[in-house]
Amino acid sequence: MSLRIFVSRDAGAVAVGADEVALALQRAAGSRGADIEIVRTGSRGLYWQEPMIEVATPKGRVAFGPVMESDAVSVLDAMMSGGAHPLLLGIADEIPWLKRQTRLTFARCGVIDPRSVEDYRAHDGYKGLERALTLGPDAILADVTASGLRGRGGAGFPTGIKWKTVAQTSADRKYIVCNADEGDSGTFADRMIMEGDPFVVIEGMTIAGIAVGASKGYIYIRSEYPHAVAAMNAAIAAARRAGYLGARLGGSAHSFDLEVRVGAGAYVCGEETSLLESLEGRRGIVRAKPPLPAHKGLFGKPTVINNVLSFAAIPFILAGGAKAYADFGIGRSRGTMPIQLAGNIKRGGLFEVAFGITLGELVDDVGGGTFTGRPVRAVQVGGPLGAYFPRELFDTPFDYEAFAARDGLIGHGGIVVFDDSVDMSKQARFAMEFCAIESCGKCTPCRIGSTRGVETIDKIRAGERVAENIAVVEDLCNTMKFGSLCALGGFTPYPVMSALKHFREDFGPAPTRLQAAE
């Protein structure tokens, strides 16, 4: 009997040797005359266990990890005999870190073969689309609204309202655009789902097309994600062959097709209007709103532009899960959030869970603290534009409003952990520096303010008139916050101001000592 072995093809697993392990397993099987079939899946998201490999058994899939090339022979022996092994993790679905999660969007990620429509369908894929085709646009919109889904890119705008606006705007052409320009450091959920379950994104976008009357969609993927680009292109071709994209899709009267476009290394293109400019073949300069993309978006036509995770949440919702989805979460943050634990963390990876879990639970309990074993000093939540939180704020529940109330944001759900060796004035400087590098240049406070910010923080770090220069930075942040069109200039003050507020001791010598020195 053939042994089915699952090895991740996720970029994060490949970066730590998954390809080599797959080859070594094949070689080991060859030398033993064992009959094995290697299925390349996405990642389950337990990155500290990658390369994590699984074998199908009558009791379920049994996992091993982290498996290095040199472990392949002994792991294969353990798989064949069912015996013990130091890297044995047990039944994959029973691993506590995985079992604790509520995987709605990522249910199939790491489980199925991301190149196979059949595998996707065998795991409840395309049920949402099938139901959507019987419902029609109005009922689809009602379901999306009822689910309480808010844009997962960071802004948290209600998806149902966005779609309804596009549906109600008449035009000869409309577009669906998927924002896969996941530039925030500490985030990788978009990459993971595109590589591990690309059909769920395609299905979500197709449903959006039917709901608003659009027949063409674009997925704008950043160039730093070549594996995701390849996975999406392969999945689009497979969906087309299976009749799920193109004219009369799924046997219906609807037509919808998709095209992948690749970014070119501009962080600001993750901002939706800048992304639209880039898709149109121009410099990624932010547009003023209004008009909203829902009214005048891509090529001036009404456009639904959503993050990868927003589209990926749709198939579950449309498969009859709107109420179930809305039942998860707290306050106005409904459903689940795929949270990404990153940086200096012991157990980093993707943790999908209902809104409401606290920051402390995520960092200490789920993440296990730092990888270096030193105390956690700060965490940055929500990417380069997110605030730095100290331990004192670890009781903050993961919820759009709760983070906003504490001058932070959840953004795209990335949490980067720093230990006590971090210099927070350096991190504040980096926030300004990054803004200076990536500013599109349209708004003066962002374009010039970020450079002045770097210079002023350098003065503070050198101990030069610390109190006065801190006042300058605060003033600068205020100007950037209110004088920039988009989140790049508008939110760069979050990491800077939070570092100043919570980690004041890192900004130059204390004022009294400085005066003495002068």
Partner: protein
């Protein structure tokens, strides 16, 4: 190590024509040219402009806006080190400094022997296996001193 073709105007025109029917094709063309020639040769800019009925200035503006596009060939190997926060938290600063010292160049430059281009990159999405790098398109995570040294040796070949 990727193999590139030397610039050839007829080949360039062919690549541009191949994508001329796409909506908003400028970036697609620039990517395709760079993939073939290793950079975007200057004569290609007016060719794109005329194919898309744009001004030369507009195409130049797009070309210079994006970090990815090169106006001259890179070194034989391109080593990109992630310099974003998650990799900083995991010790990326020291590794970047080590790479700069070993190669004798600052990030964003090419060695004098044109073997190695060292560049910063802002996030490869490998933030749970940080610090990470990309050598000629190949991803490497969980970098430490030994791993970066091995990458540097490879990048200097």
């Amino acid at each position: 190590m990727p193999a590139y073709e030397p610039w050839d105007a007829a080949r360039g025109a062919e690549i541009i024509a191949e994508h001329a029917c796409l909506e908003g094709a400028t970036l697609v063309m620039l990517h395709a040219l760079q993939q073939t020639f290793g950079y975007v040769p200057e004569p290609a800019i007016p060719m794109i402009a005329s194919a898309l009925n744009l001004s030369r200035a507009e195409v130049h503006g797009v070309f210079t806006f994006y970090h990815d596009f090169r106006h001259e060939p890179a070194g034989r190997h391109v080593l990109k080190l992630c310099r974003a926060e998650a990799c900083q938290a995991a010790g990326g600063d020291a590794l970047a400094a080590r790479a700069e010292a070993r190669l004798g160049i600052a990030l964003g430059n090419t060695t004098a022997d044109e073997r190695t281009t060292l560049e910063p990159i802002y996030c490869l999405g490998l933030c749970a296996t940080a610090p990470s790098a990309m050598l000629d398109g190949r991803l490497v995570g969980r970098l430490d001193e030994a791993r970066i040294d091995a990458l540097l040796a490879e990048a200097q070949r």
